[in-house]
Amino acid sequence: MIDTRPLIVGAGPAGLRAAITLSDAGLHPVLVDHAPGIGGAVYANLRAQPNLTPKLTREARILRQDFDRVRPRVDLRLSTAFAAFDQTGTALLTGQAGMMFKPRAVIFATGARERIQPRPGWTLAGVSSAGALQIALKTTGTLPLGRLLLAGTGPLLYAIAAQMVAADRPPVAVIETGNPLRHPLMALRLPARVLTEATRYIGQLLLAGVPILSGTDLTRIETRNGALIAHTSRQGRWAEISVDHIGLHDGLARNDFGISAEMTGQTPVFQAGDCRSVLGRWAAEEDGKRAAEQVLHALNATPGRAAIAPDQRFIKTQTLLAKLFARAPALAAPELPDDTVICRCENRSLGDLKQALQTASEQTQTTARTLRLTERFGMGPCQGRQCLDWVAALTPDTTSFADLRGNRWPIKPVRVRDILDAPDFTADPSHQDLK
């Protein structure tokens, strides 16, 4: 018996929109997410208790309404992770609603990951991604106790800072390596809805008196008397800021580790949303619909669309934003001391990396393989999501990000018990889609 269910990995805007589109076409998709609710990171408030967090935005409301409408046709499995495929096309889902089954097609909608520049002290408790603070706010309406500081670069920092203001917990400051406010004319070329949103955030910050320290680096963090001390540098001037929590953010990247199409055998595989190209939530939703149409096409259910490139408008917006947030020219390149941790999982430092390159060049050649197998970079449980951007940047003549990352299952660590516990529906799919 053939299982007719397509699999969608990730219940953010791209995954939800894909599920809606496939359901409307009469299919019964399996939608998995390792989080305990739908929405992904950007719409994490879809899983909050309604009374706790600010009102949903219009697009989040519409997305939920559309999803509620098709909900009976979707096999939604929350607190459940997609782990891997094998060569027979069997997908392994682990966690609360784990199983093994053979999906007819797969859409990966695994979103983005935050890029965070390694700095001394970035492994201290209380230092997290800025996104982690935002998730707490969106899902529970609260933030960790104490003084908050945001640092790094990119539009997301201002969204988060403004949301903190709205929650009556304004950050002590926003430290920004770029000079985004210096280019108002360039900013005017942004699409109206992006510009409106940005203006509102900046307005809220100015009104609340939150200092935006632009052209400034957060160079290192240390603990002193139970507080976190952030050391900042701006054109040779140094300052210290004492806080309790620091949210770091240096932009976004695709969370596409281990999901290349070559590894799924005969099963048609598509990527949608930020995991295909980081273009934000509006583009992600459109892309989820596009990927679903491609699945329908591949399954011959409807005349679908061929692969199309993402909408040029979204790409232009991202290019412009990257220019606006370019690192201030007056800012020196960050100089990291050798004991800076690069790989957090395996506790490997910049010094370890330098030494590996040196000894290797004396003896044999350094490759992505030796940096991984001997030096352990990218081999920990995060699978390199946090360090490989920087290992690649620090070893430009030696290896590339793609080589370092490779493509391997599982896409996240799996408990052996979860594999043993996962019911096996590969021989007899329990759900038959009555198309």
């Binding site: 390792h34 492994t123 982690a132 960790p144 957090r344 996240k412």
Partner: protein
């Protein structure tokens, strides 16, 4: 309604509906969830299940991300370093 709690290394910690183990602990002022095998602190970092920096040992589930797991009343949650200390006492 009485306050619901999880047991963090044996100590009751209050949680609200919708709280993950990580959000309940941070609201209680606990930012360090023990030590990782590398001796670096276990703590929230990415907040969305990607970094594995927040792993804890949860009764009935096993080792899991504090940032992805919702609190359950009376559930015992332990730091992995706490676990390792008790389990590796023989060596």
């Amino acid at each position: 309604m009485s306050v619901q709690t999880i047991l963090w290394n044996g100590t009751p910690i209050a949680f609200l509906p919708g709280d993950t183990i990580a959000s309940a602990l941070s609201r209680a002022g606990i930012t360090e969830f023990g030590l990782r095998q590398t001796a670096l602190p276990a703590a929230i970092f990415c907040g969305i299940g990607q970094c594995q920096n927040c792993l804890v040992s949860i009764e009935g589930i096993g080792v899991a991300e504090a940032c992805l797991t919702l609190c359950d009343a009376e559930q015992s949650v332990r730091s992995l370093s706490d676990h390792r200390l008790t389990e590796s006492a023989h060596d």
